[in-house]
């Protein structure tokens, strides 16, 4: 089993590691018994596109992760990838996109990339759920 240089780089110097205290939403997946927990914090903002539509995007993102080098590298690169991205686009992200960006992951570590994507989507879902409730009120 060998990690790509990109994985090592992100593991060594993880981007966006930490907490957003007043985050708009949080997503957490995994379980310490399995050895992996990923928690993603997002701040969402709204911007206007050139054709005048309004869109929600990830203005800021941070992560906390318990896990192996691959899990930490996935969290790091994933948060880099989706920073500034619209929520719609982020929801379409797949584990393969993350693996590709990391220049590959060992077979046994593919589940780490799934965890990362799941944590992100969980955060976005939580955000939308809470916002819909606010609007309805």
């Amino acid at each position: 089993m060998q990690y790509s240089g990109k994985v090592i780089e992100h593991f060594k110097n993880p981007r966006n590691q930490g907490v957003i205290k007043d985050a708009d939403a949080v997503g957490q997946v995994g379980n310490p018994v399995c050895g992996d927990v990923m928690k993603i914090y997002i701040s969402v903002n709204r911007r206007q596109t050139t054709d005048g539509r309004q869109q929600d995007y990830i203005e800021n993102i941070k992560f906390e992760t318990l896990g192996c080098a691959a899990a930490i590298a996935v969290s790091s690169i994933l948060t880099d990838m989706v920073k500034g991205m619209t929520l719609d686009k982020a929801m379409k992200l797949t584990k393969d996109d993350v693996v590709k960006e990391l220049e590959g992951l060992p077979e046994a570590k593919i589940h780490c990339s799934m965890l990362g994507v799941d944590a992100l989507k969980q955060a976005i879902k939580n955000y939308r759920h809470e916002n819909n409730e606010k609007i309805q009120k």
Binding site: K12, Q17, P32, G35, L66, C68, I72, A108
Partner: protein, 412 residues
């Protein structure tokens, strides 16, 4: 960056003296030891000397040593070879029982799994919470149909030392009892011979630290390899007490009394002999004492500087080399990788590093919580490590653990 190696259970560097002993056998004394001419005979002389040295260490006859490619081959040959021989003699698969432990190396567990698939009945003996075999449970598992007991001498992961002499004695007593009872039976009604029982031990992790006397410990078969004892890789041996039935697993040129065919790995065998020759009681005592001192410093340093840490190795029932820790909240593989970036080599039983994603079978057998098992690191010290190295490791480790814990959303 000066590198620090604390993974001696994985492998050891070849001693300079061992390398020197091996050197002539590459190009000068290159003959095939099975050849009758002078080239072959010169090579054979080197092999004979190695065999003699190993026999002295194990306290057995030179003819009881079978050279192999390493401990994995020795284990396979011992476990499957004995069963194969007994089966050839008419032993029935469904009526045969074999015993091993829950904490063996895969080189023993996998052959036992193969036997189980073939229809043999297999029992696994549990361990106590310090990783030492539960001898009472072992006794209870032996039946009238048990023919083989295989228990490792030292556990590679945690370092626990098994009560080998006690196990050897139990097996021997059962063998003698079966013989006595068989003799009492009516000659026409009884089988040709009483049901045999043999004791095999994988001593790969033991040789560096323990005088592995096969006579004193009532051992029938013993496996080990060169690269764990400051010798070369790709060579090992199986001790087989004269008379223990064994059938070859690979056939060919009839080397090693036909138990293990294949051209002699002369350089490797000479290296193995030279490495074993350096394990005399005096050298062993000296190294044990030195390594014990280093380990105490490591353990004290870690306990003092890193809170929320569990020392899993039983200090009084382990080799002096092993120090197995769980750093709660810091995942094992991440710890290993961060230490590696600092030039420090350790090992982990963490699921994530093995690629299997299963928690270590040894830690689970010891009753260690699955979650805690993911936070584990194994240090195995060697005779070349220094006090300064240990100080550096403690210092760097403290920072790494702190950093990983900070990153953990469910810690603290």
């Amino acid at each position: 960056m000066k590198k620090i190696y604390l993974d001696h259970s994985a492998t050891t560097p070849v001693d300079k003296k061992v390398m020197q002993a091996m050197a002539p056998y590459f190009s000068d004394v290159f003959g095939n030891a099975s050849s009758i001419h002078s080239f072959g005979q010169a090579a054979l002389k080197g092999i004979d000397k190695a065999r003699q040295r190993i026999a002295e260490f194990l306290n057995c006859e030179p003819g009881e040593i079978i050279f192999t490619s390493g401990a994995t081959e020795s284990d396979n040959l011992a476990v499957k070879g004995v069963i194969k021989a007994l089966t050839s003699k008419g032993m029935k698969t469904g009526e045969t029982h074999v015993i091993t432990s829950l904490v063996e190396h895969d080189a023993v567990l996998e052959p036992f799994m193969e036997l189980e698939k073939k229809g043999f009945s297999v029992s696994h003996v549990p361990v106590l919470e310090n990783g030492v075999i539960d001898i009472e449970k072992l006794k209870a598992k032996i039946t009238d149909k048990t023919v083989l007991v295989s228990i490792m001498w030292v556990n590679s992961e945690i370092g626990s030392i098994m009560p080998i002499r006690e196990i050897g004695k139990i097996v021997k007593k059962i063998r003698e009892k079966r013989e006595r009872e068989w003799k009492k039976l009516n000659k026409t009604g009884r089988s040709d011979k009483p049901v045999p029982i043999y004791f095999h031990t994988d001593a790969t992790q033991a040789l560096n630290f323990i005088q592995c006397d096969v006579g004193r410990n009532y051992i029938d078969l013993l496996s080990f390899s060169g690269h764990k004892i400051y010798g070369p890789k790709g060579v090992g041996a199986l001790y087989r007490r004269e008379g223990v039935p064994l059938e070859a697993l690979q056939r060919g040129g009839h080397q090693e009394k036909n138990f293990r065919s294949g051209t002699y790995n002369t350089t490797g065998i000479v290296g193995l002999g030279a490495a074993v020759a350096r394990l005399d009681k005096e050298s062993q005592d000296k190294n044990n004492k030195y390594i014990a001192g280093l380990r105490d410093k490591l353990v004290v340093g870690i306990k003092k500087n890193i809170p929320d840490t569990i020392f899993n190795t039983d200090r009084d029932n382990s080799t002096r080399s092993h120090a197995h820790f769980s750093f709660i909240g810091a995942e094992g593989e991440a710890l290993l990788m961060r230490l590696d970036m600092e030039g420090i080599a350790v090992s982990t039983g963490s699921a994530c590093a093995s690629g299997s994603l299963k928690a270590s079978h040894v830690l689970i057998a010891m009753g260690i919580d699955k979650e805690v098992s993911h936070y584990s690191i194994r240090f195995t010290l060697g005779k070349h490590n220094t006090e300064d190295e240990i100080k550096t490791v403690v210092k760097k480790l403290a920072l790494i653990v702190k950093n990983l814990r900070q990153m953990n959303p469910v810690y603290g």
